[in-house]
Symmetry: C2
Subunit: 191 residues, 2 copies
DNA sequence: CGCGGGTTTGATGATGCTCAAGCCCGGTGG
DNA sequence: CCACCGGGCTTGAGCATCATCAAACCCGCG
């Protein structure tokens, strides 16, 4: 069993014995997803959390104009889930799709709770992950308040140059809440 | 010692013995804040988390146009902090101010860590709180994507009618990212 | 070579902001 | 008890930002 990137990440926050590592490994099921395959569809309950070991996922919904609105990306080392659906057991309004061929660790809600029962120290790891996610949400929110969409785009593309190569521009545009046409205009000025 | 609303909230998620309750009570320091007094100012490190027992706080920053941009409210039973500053120890860019006379429980970062060391089961409580905060952020983000500002305002005011009575309209406007003038226009149409 | 996904162009227009002014109303001091 | 003050809300004109729509273009790939 290779020490997965998840186990490494966990060990950055809590100490694990070898037996605990083995125990943990049972709860996280590795899955391969081909490009364009779906991990979750609108209307299904999101019973799982996804950890991207390698690849890239997007979470999106279909808006009133019947087009795809991306709300979140996840790349190597990131968690992704519809936490509302996950916690309440309500049907999700999102699709989760692989936009690259991806290696993903999956944990089901029931397994998640069982794991936390058997290895309570994992509560700490997830508390820290969630706290970071809240911090990230606060930061993003602040940027949205203080920047124009043009600035927001520039900020994103300079902050994550690598990511820009990795996914089509129109997806980034969608995630940032702007149209491909407008992004095009921004970039024209830019040069 | 009165069973504070915080202890009650914690006990909805984890079991606590009487001695644990007593132990906990040492970590959360009750403070009273008068209307308009500050809990945190821009430039200070946000070393604390705030739990509102009773009252109302706002978190805001000063934007380029030198006006106050509210990013978060907290009322009875809610946690509030600048989690970025709290975790990294970097100076905060926010002000936190009481907009009503408020009863607040305060925990310092060092105490927070010590408490988690002594009562590891509190990790679970905070994991759940943070997870809920992430879910809320996801929901808010979705609403922002799919609604016009007018719809966003209507949605907010029908979702939290009680809150609308409690704080001045221009603060709600700021929080929702719109100008008091525009809110005024919306409400005119409304009637 | 042709197809189709992704990007660009340009014209038009809506959404929501800015600025300046005035109004309303509750509180405070004379 | 009244006048005034000032915080909060409203009005209206003008304007910037950014979306919409239709069309063309570009280019990698089967």
């Amino acid at each position: 069993m290779p020490a997965s990137s998840l186990i490494q990440q966990i060990q950055q926050h809590i100490e694990l014995t070898d037996t605990e590592v083995l125990l943990l490994a049972n709860y996280f099921k590795p899955h391969h997803f081909k490009k364009k395959s779906f991990l979750l569809r609108q209307g299904q309950d999101c019973r799982t959390m996804y950890f991207v070991e390698q690849g890239c996922l997007r979470m999106y919904f279909i808006n009133k104009k019947a087009s795809e609105q991306i709300v979140q990306f996840a790349i190597d080392g990131w968690w992704l889930s519809d936490y509302f659906s996950f916690m309440d057991g309500t049907p999700s309004e999102y699709y989760i799709q692989a936009i690259e061929s991806s290696e993903v660790l999956i944990i089901e809600k029931l397994q998640f709770e069982e794991m936390l029962g058997k290895l309570p120290k994992m509560e700490r790891y997830f508390r820290i992950m969630m706290q970071k996610a809240v911090a990230a949400a606060q930061l993003r929110s602040k940027l949205l308040y203080e920047m124009t969409k043009e600035e927001f785009f520039q900020h994103f593309s300079t902050s994550f140059p690598g990511f820009m190569q990795r996914v089509p521009l129109y997806m980034v545009a969608s995630y940032l809440g702007l149209t491909p046409e407008y992004v095009s205009e921004i970039r024209k000025k830019q040069v």
